[in-house]
Symmetry: C2
């Protein structure tokens, strides 16, 4: 089993629970920090001391408070760590169960497993630790289809950007200008209209406002 594990999690209640779960797995050295920046420093120091961590368990989102952070989220932390300790095994442990988010995480970051917090979060976390130890990826059932099933991933980056700009209050005209500035194509008012139309059909939205509300509810933006 893993010997030296670091847990990054802002909430103290969850930290308590996770610690107990790890102790039950007979993991001896458990460090816990509540900020990503602290995690980064710990991992760097551990390498320097030639006692690197075997496993990182990290939350995704962290509450902001008075301490300004260089790495405000689990995602930024993981990306930074890929240059520090690329072979570090990472288990994401988060409430986030929206496929789009999870999918980009799994594909672009080098994470070994993704566990959704929930009624059986700790049980799944234990499972994940076991399988990751045996170099097998673990995904919570809710997100397992994030990799296999492509049906829910119909919205591409362009459309995402489009809806995002809408949510910022830009008119179609303004989005057209913005896209021209940013060299995002297509950028004609007409094309933007057409794409929005497609999206409205896709998400069964009556109008732009409804579309933004729906996409926000789905957590895509």
């Amino acid at each position: 089993m893993f010997k030296k594990v670091l847990v990054v999690e802002d909430m103290d209640d969850i930290n308590r629970g996770v610690k107990i779960a790890l102790l039950e797995l007979n993991i001896s050295e458990i460090d816990q920090v509540q900020y990503c920046d602290d995690a980064y420093l710990r991992i760097k120091k551990a390498i320097k001391d030639q006692k690197p961590y075997d496993l990182l368990i990290s939350d995704l989102s962290f509450k902001v408070d008075h301490r300004e952070q260089k790495y405000p989220s689990g995602e930024t932390l993981i990306r930074a760590l890929q240059e520090v300790q690329p072979d570090l095994k990472v288990i994401m442990y988060s409430v986030e169960d929206r496929l789009q988010k999870v999918r980009t995480l799994i594909n672009t970051c080098n994470i070994k497993s993704y566990v959704c917090k929930g009624r059986h979060g700790l049980k799944e976390l234990s499972k994940a630790i076991h399988t990751v130890y045996n170099n097998v990826q673990y995904l919570s059932p809710q997100v397992a289809k994030a990799l296999s099933d492509r049906s829910n991933l119909e919205i591409d980056d362009y459309d995402l950007e489009l809806v995002k700009q809408l949510s910022f209050g830009l008119s179609q005209d303004e989005i057209s200008s913005y896209f021209k500035e940013e060299n995002i194509s297509p950028n004609s008012l007409s094309s933007i209209e057409k794409h929005l139309n497609k999206l409205k059909i896709q998400f069964k939205a009556n109008n732009a406002t409804h579309l933004v509300a729906t996409v926000k509810d789905l957590g895509l933006i």
Copy 2:
């Protein structure tokens, strides 16, 4: 100190953490359930057995799963319990820190304290248990102003309903008709325009879409 405490919390990791915190307060009888419906039944049974609970610690939002629930949220549970055991002391323990929500909860339900989950959630929970035991209300600092400060609560139920209908995809015209059906007043197209205009200024929104996105981000709808 309290003798018999019930904890309603869906996530198992937090349950573990909370249990330890309660044990450290020398509370002997700790029951934990992961569904509000279970909590309701337990409390009823405890009364029937003439061994009622002293304290209820409840989460607000619960993940939905296969089990259909009569009480899907902490709020519905608490409201139901007011008829079962009105004198039961209740501490809400939730990540929810948006003033509007917390305020209506404190004012309309009979809850003794509100603790925000966070980096020091457990510490605050311990504090809250102590003060509630001494019949003093405890509020996490983040929401303390929910009661005192009225400045952030500028949006009333009417405006909230208005924005909500917008987010459902209704046009101003349709909202006007809807309000007439529901006998919500004012309901003329003109008034709806005016109210929306006021809201757009208030939330610095360029248009309706922007307004809905902003209000959704603030968690008001």
